[in-house]
């Protein structure tokens, strides 16, 4: 466990005890690597991210982050641990009552006693790194979707976190913004020597920038390996996901105990 920044062992999780979101998941993420956790909508990817940030606790199993067992840590220590983690949310989650500058400076002001003049320089550097220097005074509602995502990236990296979590960073972006974000993730990861976990279902973009891929379905890990190995996997479920096929082991129809024919009153015996 020593070399792993994040280590999940036999983790199971459910929100309401009726449906298991994660089933016996084990993942080890080494320092300095970029890992993609992929899978269709509702496969449990975002829940996994919430477990890593300590926002949820697993019903069974353990979650270790920086070699600390999150389920045994008091809230105060979990908050301290989060200072070493950066999170990019799906749609940025920028604070709408603050300017771009205030958003990026937020965690610096909250967690350091740096003078304003230094904070201004750090914010300028972070915005330059994502190509948005000069937007400091803009309101968040003046930004496009791609720009908002980049400001959120600058905010998430403001304290140079050792671990970066990206929750669906490519969703809803045009092709140029999408490539810009993926390039920035790789560039920042290399420059800051971070460990990165990218939660996504965008196969094509992600495979270019990650070292390892975990594929999830129905709350389970169904494949793990290098991007090439996953791409060439003969496992039917992985093949279906990679090629985006409609038919296969994963049924797009909602699984219910109700009988459709019985619901409509159709009797096949007649």
């Amino acid at each position: 466990m020593q070399n792993f920044v994040v280590s999940l062992k036999n983790v199971s999780f459910s929100y309401d005890d009726t449906r298991m979101i994660l089933k016996n998941i084990s993942i080890n993420i080494p320092k300095g690597k970029r890992i993609a956790i992929m899978g269709g909508s509702g496969s449990g990817k975002t829940t996994l991210l919430r477990l890593i940030t300590g926002q949820c606790q697993p019903q069974t199993g353990t979650v270790h982050v920086f070699n600390q067992n999150l389920s045994r840590l008091p809230n105060r220590k979990i908050l301290n641990l989060r200072k070493r983690i950066g999170v990019l949310f799906q749609f940025g989650a920028l604070f709408t009552d603050m300017s771009v500058y205030e958003n990026v400076a937020f965690s610096i002001k909250e967690h350091t006693n740096l003078p304003e003049s230094i904070i201004q320089k750090i914010v300028a550097m972070k915005l330059k790194a994502v190509g948005l220097f000069g937007t400091q005074d803009m309101a968040t509602n003046e930004l496009s979707g791609g720009m908002a995502r980049r400001v959120a990236l600058a905010r998430a990296t403001a304290l140079d976190p050792e671990l970066m979590l990206y929750d669906e960073p490519f969703t809803g972006l045009d092709p140029i913004s999408l490539n810009v974000i993926s390039m920035l993730i790789k560039k920042l990861n290399d420059a800051l020597e971070q460990t990165s976990i990218i939660i996504t279902h965008d196969f094509a973009t992600t495979l270019k920038i990650v070292d390892y891929v975990y594929v999830m379905a129905n709350g389970e890990i169904i494949a793990f390996g290098t991007p090439l190995a996953v791409l060439n996997s003969q496992e039917p479920a992985v093949k279906q996901f990679v090629k985006g096929e409609v038919t296969g082991p994963f049924n797009y129809e909602f699984q219910t105990k109700m009988s459709y024919n019985a619901y409509l009153g159709i009797d096949h015996n007649e």
């Binding site: 926002q55 908050l79 301290n80 989060r82 999170v87 949310f89 604070f95 965690s107 909250e110």
Partner: protein, 261 residues
Amino acid sequence: MNEKIINFTRQLGHPFAEFILTLGSIIRLLIDIILNLPFALKNIFLIIKGIHFCGVKSIVIIAVSGWFVGMVLGLQGYNTLNRFGSISVLGSVVALTLLRELGPVLTAILFAARAGSGITAELGLMKATEQLDAMSVMAVNPIRRLIVPKFIAGIISVPLLTALFIVAGILGGYFVGVIILHLDSGTFWSQMRDSVNLHDDVYNGLFKSFIFGISVTLISVYQGFMAKPTAEGVSVATTKTVVVSALTVLALDYVLTALMF
């Protein structure tokens, strides 16, 4: 039959259980707020910003409402007192009604409608757009950063707004009684001065408004914090803030009045 009885009993007990759960959550939030008070006091700017939002921006609505309520009191009081030949005590009637009851109660209800609903909507939308989650994963406690400053701003603003409402109301009463209906100005003020007691009337009224400020602001932040993260959830939470605040203020007013006067 047994199942029907069980279901009926469940249905009876469910609202009560819900009420107890909600009350428990509100008390937990209040304890959290109290524990975080010293940390929030370090960031005075956020409290000032909160006072600006819920206090300063409510000044006009409070002053205008107070003025009209005072005018109505002046008019109704004049007509009623005139029947008994006691129009000289109009100043006392207007002042005591405003200081003891209408000032604190109406200000708290107006505050809930104007600022409380705003606080709920802001927090609810922040929740719906993952801003609260973002704050939390940035190792910033949303209760300390968001809730406590708004809470302090609320309990500072409500007594001040109540004082403004009462002053505007008395001036409204004076306008109708003295300027329009030609009651003697000296009688109006001297009767008021003689009958109003600083401790029993002024302090008690302001104490009431302080309690109402705590209640309304607590309900507002609770509803926003607990809102379902959807458009409908925010809308429901905002409505609940106004309705629950109004009922709580009226119920508390009876209890406080019974204890004080």
